[in-house]
């Protein structure tokens, strides 16, 4: 065994080959059962290899350079990618939500990440890439899912309730008064997966970060403290991000005069 001093068993090419073997078995199953998944599976497996190894190399390089500007630039890039993903996952949303998604990711991403690294973990110096980048990744990745869900739900629900929205507006309701129910439903929908994950953590599954730390040889109790911090902050980021993103976006489906733009009145393109 290639055991390291810290108790970590190093993964080498042999180990990678064994795990690839399992994916090959799934590929053979796919061919035998005519699932038609083998090419997708192959591409996905290759992407997993390349992307994660590239990430490992990139992080090693970033940790070595130790520059606050580089860390900040990477965070901004991560947030832009998250905002782009949100827009793609909410195809029914009006144009122009990229801006609000970006603002949301920047505000919640930076606030929550640096609240954890600065106030909870108290990293020295504040920009230490080894802490800041993985934590930002967890904050952004999880809140991105919740925000995309909340935005998608907001606009789907508004379309489903278009008749009620019209009736309310006709009685003099503002866009907020007409859209309020949909906004609440959507924010709730965005938060439920996070709340469920918090409730099931440690009973149904061992959360990803704790798994990683335990495998890397950390004391399980110390790892659990980290995981608590991460789960709470992910919940906070998802909640704040969903509220902010939906609040910044729902109004875009209304005209300046407060009229809900129904499907039939939207211009193509």
């Amino acid at each position: 065994m290639n055991e390291l001093a810290g108790g970590v068993i190093e993964i080498g090419w042999v180990q990678l080959a064994i795990s690839t073997g399992f994916v090959v078995v799934v590929g053979i199953l796919s061919i035998r059962l005519s699932l038609g998944l083998e090419s997708d599976l192959a591409v996905a497996a290759v992407r997993t290899f390349l992307q994660l190894i590239a990430l490992g190399l990139a992080l090693r390089w970033v940790f070595g350079i130790d520059s606050p500007w580089l860390v900040l630039a990477i965070l901004v890039l991560m947030m832009a990618a998250a905002a782009q993903t949100i827009v793609k996952r909410a195809p029914d949303a009006p144009r122009g939500i990229l801006g609000s998604s970006m603002i949301t990711m920047l505000l919640t991403g930076f606030t929550v990440t640096f609240a954890v690294t600065g106030l909870v973990i108290q990293v020295e110096p504040w920009y230490r890439a080894q802490y800041v980048i993985p934590i930002a990744g967890m904050v952004l990745g999880n809140s991105m899912n919740g925000i995309a869900l909340a935005l998608e739900r907001t606009f789907a629900d508004l379309d489903a309730r278009a008749g009620e929205v019209l009736a309310l507006t006709a009685l003099g309701a503002t866009p907020w008064e007409a859209a309020g129910d949909s906004v609440r439903v959507a924010i709730r929908a965005g938060l439920i997966p996070t709340i469920n994950a918090m409730a099931a953590a440690g009973i149904v599954f061992i959360p990803g970060m704790m798994t990683g730390q335990v495998l890397a040889g950390a004391d399980p109790l110390a790892a659990s403290y980290y995981q608590v911090v991460v789960m709470l902050m992910v919940a906070a980021a998802t909640a704040l991000g969903s509220v902010l993103a939906v609040m910044l976006s729902y109004r875009k489906r209304f005209t300046a005069d407060g009229v809900y733009i129904e499907k039939g009145y939207r211009r193509a393109g």
């Binding site: 019209l166 009736a167 009685l171 003099g172 309701a173 503002t174 407060g258 009229v259 009145y265």
Partner: protein
């Protein structure tokens, strides 16, 4: 003249190239009048009502209410005075009382007092819904009952103009008669009514207009 429209123009972009649903439509309605709008399906009757209620994006033209142009009113205030009742009665989750009082939960009426239960019960009685308790779940109303509750909700806010989109579509004879009586009572108290109707106009209408090809013409009575 209570409500006037001058040169209302609205183009639909649903198909490639603009298609004029309303083309320089002008009209005027006096207080106390009931004006029926007829026309073939898809001729833009609903669009006209929505334009008058300022519930349509990108409309050109001028609207005036009581001699003041639309821009002098905040959009929500305009709609509280020129109130559209959409064809499908939209009931919110909750009781009949919740639905009747909904308009007073809106900011536009924050200074006004909501009618007390006694007034609501009296109003229900007058429109033939006396058997419906205020605490009834609105989801359990029949189509005809919901249509009358929605009309009553609009009438209780005492707008200047009521715009009714096929108020008696899908209603039985009894409900239709009650809706007509409510409309007439509203007009007799000085309100103006514009109704979109498929069925033949009834004797209560003061005038009938016909909308075809984006143009509005008066039908000789």
């Amino acid at each position: 003249m209570l409500l006037a429209a001058e040169g209302l123009t609205f183009a639909s972009h649903a198909d490639p190239g603009p298609h004029y649903v309303l083309e320089r439509v002008s009209l005027a309605i006096e207080a106390g009048e009931i004006v029926d709008v007829r026309g073939p399906s898809g001729s833009g009757k609903t669009t006209l009502l929505r334009a008058l209620a300022r519930l349509l994006p990108d409309v050109e033209g001028t609207l005036t209410l009581g001699g003041r142009v639309a821009e002098e009113y905040a959009p929500a205030e305009w709609r509280s005075r020129v109130t559209l009742l959409p064809q499908t009665a939209a009931m919110r989750p909750g009781t009949v009382r919740d639905n009747l009082l909904l308009p007073w939960q809106l900011k536009v009426r924050s200074a006004a007092h909501a009618p007390p239960d006694g007034a609501l019960e009296q109003a229900l009685l007058e429109v033939g819904l006396g058997e419906i308790a205020l605490g009834r779940d609105a989801a359990r109303l029949s189509v005809g009952q919901a249509a009358r509750v929605a009309l009553l909700r609009a009438v209780l806010t005492a707008p200047d103009v009521l715009l009714l989109d096929e108020p008696d579509a899908n209603l039985d004879d009894e409900s239709t008669a009650q809706v007509a009586a409510m409309t007439e009572a509203f007009a007799s108290q000085g309100g103006a009514v514009m109704r979109v109707r498929h069925q033949r106009g009834d004797v209560r209408a003061s005038r009938t207009l016909r909308l075809v090809g984006g143009h509005l013409t008066e039908v000789a009575s």
